[in-house]
């Protein structure tokens, strides 16, 4: 049954000013349309250039259901190719990462290609004389993704031909990547320590909303924070905390704390939560590192970088960044009711090892499949995925702090518990879904 294909009016109607329809989370048809439209029309995070340091290094990664290859060129550039042999479609590489040498060689009939995808050689070449192969797509080599942006080593792709430039699409939220990279006195980050991968049986948008949900920690994480507080009881506030306690205890902060941390939304669904402070603001100071930062960036910029520790910065639709600790989450939708969440840690060149330890520790405690904090989140996402089937009410409320004035503004700074950060995501969802959608005759 198709309801939404080529019906931009019906798709757009799922997102109202202050609520969204449950089909957004439940419909497999909408999921297929998201793969075709939303994830093609937007700039989606693919990977980090430090994953492919040397010529011939590659990673394979599906984006919006399309298998892609990111590969380092002999001249140092990063290219993104479709992982599909020009002959009959075999994936050229099926390892997650590795080095392909100086060319690609298809395992099926041994067609070979240069690292930029240009055709190199075909066995039994004579057989193609007098045929149309050269003129056909199959004779042109590997297709490459045309719209690739490497922004301070973060690699993004836009799969559709038409659409906004990377800078126009991301706008001011790019400051979150700048902040994270500039935490390295040398301006260089490297992915480190592996990626924690979680399968969550819920719609990807639910996970992304929760990244901006500050009303839930008190009730959702009560079991973990109560246990942590009981264990830490009796210690003076000035006692040095083990890193795990430093990172878990702030989850128990009250509503006022989260409201006061503030948030900001930008055009295209992006946001920064915790513009004033966050649960990451009070990590122990590191005087030598801060001196190195002042030497690298100057007093003013160093202070600005170090004092900004937002809770989460969302690059809609699939990347969430924490400058401190140096960690990102990547949302990889698999089906309407199944999402892969990755948690990555970074090393910052010139910064003490402690920063990397904090990133790994935070990811392990909060985003590991064996996390002590996330089990309750995951249970609730999976519960919503079932609960929405209940009927009786087909709508999800996003009314908190709704103000009609927000409909005509793009950048807004607001209180931390305002559901505007989520409404902003869904407005962007509707826009990217219908952009370029044909209208049924």
């Amino acid at each position: 049954m198709t309801t939404y294909r080529n019906r931009p009016d019906l798709v757009a109607a799922l997102v109202q000013d202050d609520r969204v329809h449950r089909d957004l989370y439940l419909s497999e048809e909408l999921f297929a349309l998201e793969q075709a439209h939303l994830f093609a029309n937007t700039w989606v995070f693919l990977g980090h250039a430090s994953q492919v340091p040397a010529s011939g290094d590659f990673i394979t990664q599906d984006i919006a259901g399309r298998p892609l290859l990111m590969v380092r060129q002999p001249d140092g550039a990063v290219h993104v190719l479709y992982n599909r042999c020009a002959h009959k479609g075999t994936q050229l590489l099926t390892d997650e990462s590795g080095n392909t040498g100086r060319f690609f060689r298809c395992p099926y009939h041994a067609w070979t290609y240069k690292l930029d995808g240009a055709p190199l050689a075909i066995p039994l070449k004579n057989g193609y004389e007098g045929t149309q192969l050269k003129a056909c797509e199959s004779g042109q080599g590997l297709a490459s993704v045309k719209h690739v942006k490497v922004y301070r080593d973060f690699v993004f792709v836009r799969l559709s031909e038409q659409g906004p430039s990377f800078e126009d699409y991301c706008g001011e939220v790019l400051g979150a990547i700048d902040n994270m990279v500039d935490r390295s006195p040398e301006g260089q980050l490297t992915v480190g320590g592996g990626v924690l991968r979680n399968i969550v049986h819920c719609n990807w948008k639910m996970y992304l909303e929760n990244i901006n949900d500050t009303v839930h920690p008190m009730s959702t994480h009560e079991s973990a924070t109560q246990a942590a507080e009981a264990l830490w009881q009796g210690h003076a506030p000035t006692d040095p905390k083990p890193m795990a306690m430093e990172q878990i205890l702030p989850f128990g902060s009250g509503y006022e704390f989260f409201d006061n941390m503030g948030g900001r939304v930008f055009a295209n669904g992006h946001s920064v939560l915790g513009v004033n402070f966050s649960i990451h603001s009070n990590y122990a100071q590191l005087p030598e590192y801060e001196a190195a930062m002042r030497a690298a960036h100057g007093e003013t910029r160093a202070t600005e970088i170090l004092q900004r520790s937002p809770q989460n910065s969302v690059f809609y639709p699939s990347l969430s960044v924490k400058g401190s600790p140096q960690a990102i989450r990547v949302i990889r939708p698999l089906a309407a009711n199944r999402t892969l969440i990755e948690a990555w840690s970074f090393r910052a060149a010139g910064a003490p090892a402690l920063l990397f330890e904090r990133a790994m520790s935070y990811n392990r405690l909060v985003f590991s499949p064996m996390s002590v904090v996330a089990h309750d989140d995951v249970h609730l996402f999976e519960s919503i995925q079932q609960g929405l089937r209940a009927g009786g009410n087909e709508w999800v409320s996003l009314h908190r702090n709704f103000d009609a004035a927000e409909l005509t503004q793009s950048t807004i700074t607001t209180n931390g518990t305002n559901e505007l950060l989520m409404r902003n995501q869904f407005r962007a969802w509707a826009k990217s879904m219908v952009a370029g959608m044909e209208v049924a005759p």
């Binding site: 592996g194 990626v195 969550v200 499949p369 002590v372």
Partner: protein
């Protein structure tokens, strides 16, 4: 319980009976529970991340959380079954009083209608005490540690 292989079987049984306090009491003061993200290939818990790397403080936090009625993910509660192959003594230090055991296993965690199955090898580093054995490190090398996993809520 003199034979450390019996100790390993007992340790798993405590988990499957959800006797988490008794289980935690088996750990030495400096004991750790470790599930490396690279499985058997991982050399240490610091240069690469882990699915879990916990000292007694964190293990206590986990156990206390599981008892909290507001541990939402435990409605319904999870249950585990460890299916152990016979343990092999991989190393014995007469001087240190330590013994290292390898125990290949299948682990099943069940909750509601869902079952998660994991397999790998448990590596127990045990130290002899006046009353028996205690755990200096329980390391779990999963077969597929770095792949995407659903929530694992109890102790492998």
């Amino acid at each position: 319980m003199n034979d450390p292989r019996d100790f390993v079987a007992h340790e798993a049984a405590l988990l499957d009976e959800r006797r988490f306090d008794d289980w935690l009491a088996l750990f030495a003061e400096d004991g750790h529970y470790w599930v490396p993200l690279l499985g058997a290939a991982q050399v240490d818990p610091f240069s690469h991340n882990s699915l879990a790397y916990e000292d007694r403080l964190l293990l206590q936090l986990r156990v206390d959380r599981l008892k909290n009625p507001r541990a939402h993910s435990q409605h319904p509660a999870s249950h585990s079954q460890h299916v152990l192959q016979p343990s092999r003594i991989a190393q014995e230090g007469a001087a240190s009083g330590e013994v290292l055991l390898h125990t290949p296993f299948i682990y099943i965690e069940a909750r509601g209608d869902n079952q998660t199955q994991l397999s790998g090898t448990a590596r127990h580093r045990l130290v002899r005490t006046p009353t028996g054995w205690s755990i200096r490190q329980k390391r779990i090398d999963l077969l597929n540690a770095a792949r995407a996993l659903p929530a694992i809520q109890l102790f492998i």
